[in-house]
């Protein structure tokens, strides 16, 4: 039988050792690699395309949740974490499983059984992954940084540095201080995740940082545009205009 190809992602050596020791007793598994941070994790997942990953949440560089946004072909995920916030409760239904550190060998074996079940049905495991992604987004308190991948380079864009966002088909373009970044997320996603005190959606295709608006200008009857401090002009829709009017 083909072995289940597994990746362990945890920033603590001892945490990885424990999983390795537990999994070594199961013949059907092969540990491909260990990663001690999110960047490396992403690289290994996209290169090796494992069937199963053990994923810690709090790690340097990228958190486990942020990593999920950048995965090309999603594996089955078992979270291993001491993360103690209520956020994890949401995964009860959706995630494959999560192991709260420290966990027993029996509990670990249970999660393997669940994972195997999911692995036998590709369609279910894919929809599970989507569920996990959504739950991870929903459980996040406020968006603080956006992870973007440009070819092979991963960049963390702090939300403070985003100037405005433009819709581009299924993607969005983030205009930030250090450059422009394409992100595979919808305008709706950003409208909901960004703090409404800082950002406002002024148009179907634009979300802009409030503090950067220099003035609102009447173009022709009932048609407006805004001018940013750096001189950039952006169109404003009717609903966008009424939102701005309420804010100023």
């Amino acid at each position: 039988m083909k072995k289940i190809r597994t990746l362990i992602i945890d920033d603590e050596q001892l945490g990885r050792d424990l999983i390795k020791a537990y999994i070594a007793k199961h013949e059907g598994y092969e540990v491909l690699a260990e990663c001690n941070n999110g960047f490396d994790g992403i690289k290994q997942i996209n290169e090796m395309k494992p069937d199963l990953i053990f994923l810690d949440i709090q790690m340097p560089k990228l958190t486990g949740f942020e990593m999920l946004e950048l995965i090309d072909s999603p594996p089955v995920i078992i979270f291993t974490t001491a993360y103690d916030q209520y956020a994890l409760k949401a995964f009860d239904v959706n995630a494959t499983d999560y192991l709260l550190k420290p966990f027993s060998e029996d509990r670990f074996n249970d999660s393997l059984v669940k994972a195997e079940k999911l692995l036998s049905n590709k369609a279910v495991s894919l929809s599970k992954f989507q569920d996990i992604l959504k739950t991870a987004e929903a459980s996040r308190e406020a968006l603080e940084r956006v992870v973007v991948k440009n070819q092979q380079k991963i960049t963390l864009v702090p939300v403070e540095e985003i100037k405005y966002i433009e819709a581009q088909d299924d993607y969005t373009m983030l205009y930030a201080e250090k450059g422009n970044f394409l992100k595979q997320k919808t305008m709706k996603y950003f409208e909901e995740s960004l703090n409404s005190k800082d950002f406002v959606r002024i148009h179907r295709s634009y979300i802009v940082r409030l503090a950067l608006i220099k003035q609102i200008e009447l173009l022709e009857k009932e048609s407006y545009q805004i001018i940013l401090h750096d001189g950039k002009k952006l169109p404003v829709s009717k609903t966008g205009y009424s939102k701005l009017k309420d804010l100023f």
Binding site: D11, L14, G15, D17, A21, P60, K61, D84, K101, E144
Partner: protein, 349 residues
Amino acid sequence: MSNPFTTNRKIFAAYASMWFLIFLSHVAIIMIVQDIKFYAALVDSFFFNFLYLIIGIGIWYTVRFNNLESYTPLKIFLDHIVSAVITAVIWVAASEFIVSKILSQENFYLEFLNQSLIWRFLIGILYYIALVSINYVIIYYNNFQEKVLKEVELKGLVKEAELNALKYQINPHFIFNSLNSISSLTISNPQRAQEMTIKLSSFLRSTLVKNDNQKSRLIDELNNAMLYMDIEKIRFADKFEFVEEIKPECKEVEVPNMILQPLFENAVKHGVYESLEKVIIKLSCSIEKEYFKIIVENNFDPESVPKRGAGIGIKNIQNRMKLIYNQDNLVVVDKTNSTFKITIYIPMS
């Protein structure tokens, strides 16, 4: 504090009623004692007293800027004498001017007015003294109330700080991760597992003991904080190094309890947890003229994007230092793009 006579309705009402009573007595007295006609007495009393009512409101400011705490009694006394004389002169002159215009036909009254000017001047001084006294009483009462309020607020702050300290001591994330490390070590290296169990227990015990002593020697503080560092060292063996540069004379200096461990924890959290490279955490101390300086420095990954909610530990220390020494700026944070340095100034008394 703004003028209570214009901002507080109750005080103004009392003030106006007082003047109304004076007004009535004034009318009665000059009618009965000096045989002044009712009409003349009414005009006289009205203008004199009404004018003082208005001038009196301004007396507040002479009191406000002559508060008892900031100036010597002699200066306050002299200021008020000058102010009383000026007030009385202006009052008498202005009132006399108006009243003598209105009652220019009443010769009998005008004669009485001229003769009574000096007495009116003295009464003006008397009114001044009375109003100043009332004003000082109001200020005193207000300060007293403010003080009570402040005390209540301060008590709340102390409670909050205590609560924060408590919350802070129990960091479940750290505890569970450490337990997981122990769990892992029981398989690979039982002896280290035992070692770590003991360290973790000692550390937890030290945070649970309620130490009534606000202060302890630096060396005791360090030994305690090292329990924490040793545990983190087991978790992140090759990810950080701790360097300690403490001169022998510093070891005996008394410092507030539980002040080092939060600094270390902060360095580990934002340095070690978020970095891939080795992080060096350095502790140094020095004795200066007025302060004992404790410095904790660490490098961090400049590319790590700080998460919000950072620095609760530092804030806690700032609050505590302020409560203990009643002084601001005893905790100074110095951050460059790859190093973090925090300096604690402990006043030497």
